[in-house]
């Protein structure tokens, strides 16, 4: 209750401020009068008496101020005064302030941009889902392996078991976790759109209701008789169907089968997985219409479902996990052949699947650390600038303190000024972050079938606010404490150079920290940029220009093998006739993509003492000439060899040839492929390249025939491949109007995918390195220039006493170089440790590459020398007569 009364009193104070003020003044006046009268009676002169009375009463102005503060809450008037004064100070030094604000804004902007990705991937709940808090993801976990590979999605039988047996979970939903292109027959022409298969309880459990019509229900999703119904995404409905209000009840032909539209999902809802934005949802049990795999719902080895459950009220994640262990154990007992050692692990549901969250947080964490370091550098700059300015304002502070301003009052004044700077920087930073985030999204290769929303929502804005506030306090506090600790008397007596030593030592410490941070950032930047250069110059084993590629899958339309072959033959005939095309072929998937096929090989059938694991590519004749891969010896496949499943011929790369038959001619040798009863003959050897990642070591590869229905068409042209792309798309439609080509692109565009990690880190760390060097150079320059201006008098004396300009230059340079070399040593040691974190992202270069570290050391020293030399030259030209006169 006491605080209530106090606030009430303060509130009346606020209302009656003027009157209370004048009453109080009258009271003091009368008190002083009475005191004066008393001294007069003691025999003092009237002037003496008045002085004595004032001394006994104390500081009237301060008392009045305190009184006013007591009446009001936080004295908004004072804060406003501080703010106005701060703004005025800022305008006065607008140029150096603009530099500080710009540096801080860049630092804050980069941090906020990275955080907006963290938010988009890990923090933000999926749009439109109301029940996210009570959702748990469930993953099968193999006890016998480790890492991300040990986590498996569910099989349908496992899913059905957990769904029916769980008591802790109110319901268990499942959906197909892969991006799944589907051909939509849009009035006779095929168009590729994305589907997601979902269980019947998917929408009800998520609490998602249809904007139009209804959502898929459990009744639609019966294994015996799945209903051919489809729910459209809001954006698809808007984009492709012009928001047709009468869409419910219409029929869409998807992969050749008719589905009737039952509803439209709410705006923004895009499922539970980041990066995948389905255009439509269909019942899980209708999967055979899309995959043409009739066994999948009963297959206990097909792991394809992402599963999540909603906890009952009163159940927490721990209880649910305990139950999952029990269910997993039961499954192990019932189906030891498929479920041996398979446990079930729960994760709180977010947009990134549980097992992958560690990787995402590690990468974004690394980036946040890098940009936090950049921001720290910017802070150091701002702090040393304010420190320098505080020394210049020592007189102002001394006068304020002599007039009765307390230490807290002075600190507040200074903090308000630094917070103003950081607030402006924060606002600019948010704008920059918006732009950075767009820029980062641009880096994403077009071939990656992933859509990411990076909203600047309240979490990001809150983060920006916190970062800006912290920044303002971090760089403002030390200068504020320093200037508040002013000793009024000597300053006011015009003694110069007060407290100079301690202050310059603090500035040196700040500079050392800044240089060390700069070295770390620059080392990281150099490593990443050099690694990017390496990655660009790595020979992938095929040409990276004059090639167009496109992916086709007639299998989705349910074509028979004969019809698939006929389609591809007719297409090949047409594309070879396109102008400029010199060679064309098919491959099951391109190297360096996301798909792989592997097998073991040996020299003999049966138990080879040392089987080798190799990658397999299935190709048609002409693949090597179309891709520009050199055939070292032997010959290419014939069409007949490529078509026949038991042709018994393969082509190997020279890495495998050297491993299996060192020093011999491999052509004509026999090779045993895993799982096959007869050996195959090696008919040719091609030059090795890169197959999974650009950074990999030598990998053995077997090329063979018999391609699946899903293939990539490779076209070689004599000129630019770009104009060819539209021709290819049209040709596909001409050959079969129902087919749609996906990923039609030039090989340069295709290479954006394998180069993505190197390009991203190269760009991000490169930018941070350049920023750090610039900031450090500015910081060093500003501090040395300031020191020179403070020491003008001293330098004048030295020169008057006979010091030569070179001696002066030496003194000033030495001061800068001592700081630089200490910072350099600390920085190199830190860089040596920090670079290890980068190691997995680097190509063809060690994390502790000595050349890089030496180069960085030389570079930083050179920049530092330049930053010191400019002000030092000014010191050299000091005219002793002028310098001595100015005191």
């Amino acid at each position: 209750m006491r605080w209530l009364r106090l606030w009430a009193a303060k509130a009346t104070g606020l209302l009656k401020g003027k009157r209370l003020d004048s009453e109080f003044e009258a009271e003091i006046e009368s008190h002083l009068h009475l005191l004066t009268e008393r001294y007069l009676r003691q025999g003092m002169s009237s002037a003496e008496a008045a002085t004595a009375a004032r001394r006994q009463f104390g500081n009237v102005a301060l008392l009045q101020q305190k009184q006013r503060a007591q009446w009001s809450f936080v004295s908004p008037a004072e804060w406003w005064g501080d703010t106005r004064f701060g703004l005025r100070m800022m305008r006065k030094k607008s140029r150096s302030n603009a530099a500080v604000v710009l540096a801080l804004a860049l630092g804050i902007g980069m941090n906020v941009a990275v955080f907006s990705f963290v938010n988009a991937l890990l923090l933000r709940p999926p749009a439109g889902v109301s029940a996210m808090g009570s959702l748990l993801e469930i993953w099968l976990h193999s006890r016998t392996s480790t890492g991300v590979q040990s986590y498996l999605p569910f099989t349908y039988p496992d899913y059905a078991y957990y769904r029916d047996q769980s008591r802790a979970l109110e319901g268990v939903l499942a959906f197909d976790g892969d991006g799944a292109p589907t051909i939509w027959n849009r009035s006779g022409e095929g168009q590729v759109i994305q589907r997601q298969l979902v269980s019947g309880n998917y929408f009800p459990l998520l609490g998602v209701h249809a904007t139009l019509g209804r959502v898929i229900s459990t009744g639609d999703d019966q294994p015996a008789s799945p209903h051919p119904v489809v729910v459209l995404s809001h954006s698809f409905w808007q984009r492709e169907l012009a928001s047709d209000p009468g869409i419910v009840g219409r029929t869409l032909v998807l992969n050749g089968a008719a589905f009737s539209v039952i509803g439209v999902a709410p705006p923004g809802f895009a499922g539970l997985l980041v990066g995948i934005a389905p255009d439509f949802w269909v019942p899980l049990t209708s999967q055979a219409q899309f995959t043409h795999d009739k066994e999948r719902l009963t297959n206990r080895n097909a792991y394809w479902l992402i599963v999540a459950g909603r906890m009952r009220t009163g159940v927490d994640a721990r209880k649910a996990q305990a139950e999952m262990h029990v269910l997993a154990h039961q499954r192990e007992l019932n189906y030891p052949d498929s479920n041996k050692n398979l446990d079930a692990i729960v994760y709180p549901a977010t947009l990134v699947p549980g097992p992958y969250r560690g990787y995402v947080s590690a990468f974004t964490g690394l980036l946040l650390a890098v940009f936090a370091l950049v921001l720290a550098t910017a802070c150091t700059n701002a702090a040393s600038l304010l420190l320098a300015r505080a020394t210049g304002r020592a007189r102002e502070m001394a006068i304020r303190s002599a007039l009765g301003a307390g230490r807290a009052r002075l600190i507040r004044q200074m903090l308000v000024e630094s917070l103003l700077l950081s607030a402006i920087a924060g606002m600019a930073g948010v704008m920059l972050a918006w732009w950075f985030a767009r820029l980062l999204l641009e880096l994403k290769p077009a071939s990656l079938p992933v859509t990411i929303e990076v909203p600047l929502d309240w979490r990001v804005l809150l983060f920006a606010l916190l970062v800006s506030l912290t920044t303002g306090i971090v760089f403002g506090l030390v200068p504020a404490l320093r200037s508040a600790a002013v000793n009024a008397a000597p300053v006011l007596k015009e003694e110069t150079q007060s407290g100079g030593l301690r202050k310059s030592r603090l500035r040196s410490l700040l500079l050392i920290g800044e240089i060390a941070a700069c070295v770390v950032l620059l080392a990281g930047a150099t490593l990443c940029v050099r690694s990017l250069m390496h990655a660009n110059s790595i020979d992938p084993g095929f040409d990276t220009q004059h090639i167009a590629v496109t992916t086709l899958d007639p299998g989705t339309l349910g074509y028979s093998p004969e019809k698939v072959d006929a389609f591809y033959r007719r297409l090949m005939g047409r594309v070879l006739a396109l102008p400029g095309v010199t060679a064309a072929s098919y491959v099951n998937h391109l190297p360096l993509g996301t798909s792989r096929e592997a097998t073991s090989v040996g020299r003999h059938v049966g138990h080879d003492p040392d089987p080798l694991l190799v990658n397999v590519f299935r190709v048609e004749p002409g693949y090597f000439s179309a891709m520009g891969t050199t055939l070292l010896s032997g010959r290419d496949f014939t069409q007949q060899e490529s078509d026949s499943p038991d042709a018994g011929v393969v082509i190997v790369n020279d890495v495998l040839a050297r491993k299996l038959w060192p020093g011999q001619n491999p052509v004509g040798k026999r090779i045993a492929l895993g799982g096959e009863k007869a050996t195959s003959e090696v008919i040719g050897v091609v030059k090795s390249g890169k197959y999974r990642t650009l950074g990999e070591g030598p990998v053995g590869v077997v090329f063979r025939g018999t391609l699946p229905p899903a293939r990539t068409l490779v076209l070689r042209t004599s000129g630019d491949a770009r104009p060819l792309l539209e021709e290819v798309r049209r040709t596909v439609q001409v050959v079969d109007p129902m087919m749609a080509a996906t990923g039609t692109q030039t090989i340069e565009e295709y290479m954006a995918l394998p180069l993505f990690p190197a390009r991203t880190t190269g760009l991000l760390l490169g930018a941070s390195g350049i920023l750090a060097v610039t900031l450090t150079a500015i910081g060093l320059f500003a501090v040395i220039a300031y020191v020179v201006s403070q020491r003008t008098h001293e330098i004048g004396v030295r020169m008057a006493l006979g010091a030569r300009p070179t001696d002066v230059l030496k003194i000033v340079m030495r001061q800068g170089m001592v700081v630089t070399s200490i910072g350099l040593c600390i920085g190199l040691a830190a860089a040596f440790g920090a670079a290890r974190l980068l190691a997995p992202l680097l190509y063809g270069i060690g994390a502790n590459d000595p050349a890089t570290l030496v180069g960085v050391a030389v570079g930083v020293t050179a920049v530092a020398m330049l930053a010191c030399y400019v002000p030092a030259r000014r010191a050299m030209r000091v005219d002793p007569a002028v310098a001595l006169r100015c005191e």
Partner: protein, 114 residues
């Protein structure tokens, strides 16, 4: 800013002002300052201005009230008087003070023996 005066604890001054008003009845600020000066026999010296800060604090807590009147020499002056709540608070604070003073006294004696 003049010679150093021995600091008076904020809470202590409030307590002294409250007690003075309790013992002497309604008084103006000058009167309270004189009374404290007289009683403390120059052991405690204070800027008399701080009495007013203390008075405002006490008033905002509702422990004292004030009204305008005329002083002995016919000047307009504000007279302060203790309220019922103030008396309760005074009892409480007095008890509190004595307890603390007793503890401190014990501790100090203990040190002399040791």
């Amino acid at each position: 800013m003049g010679e150093k005066k021995s600091d008076v604890l904020q809470g202590t001054l409030d307590l002294m002002v409250l007690k003075t008003l309790h013992a002497m009845g309604p008084l103006h600020g000058f009167g309270i300052a004189r009374r404290i000066e007289q009683l403390s026999k120059d052991v405690l010296q204070l800027n008399e201005g701080t009495v007013y800060t203390s008075l405002l604090r006490l008033q905002q807590q509702g422990w004292i009230g004030s009204r305008w009147g005329t002083s002995e020499n016919n000047r307009k002056a504000r007279f302060y008087s203790i309220t019922r709540q103030g008396k309760k608070q005074l009892e409480l604070e007095t008890e509190n003070w004595e307890r603390i003073a007793a503890v401190i006294g014990r501790v100090l004696r203990l040190e002399r023996q040791g």
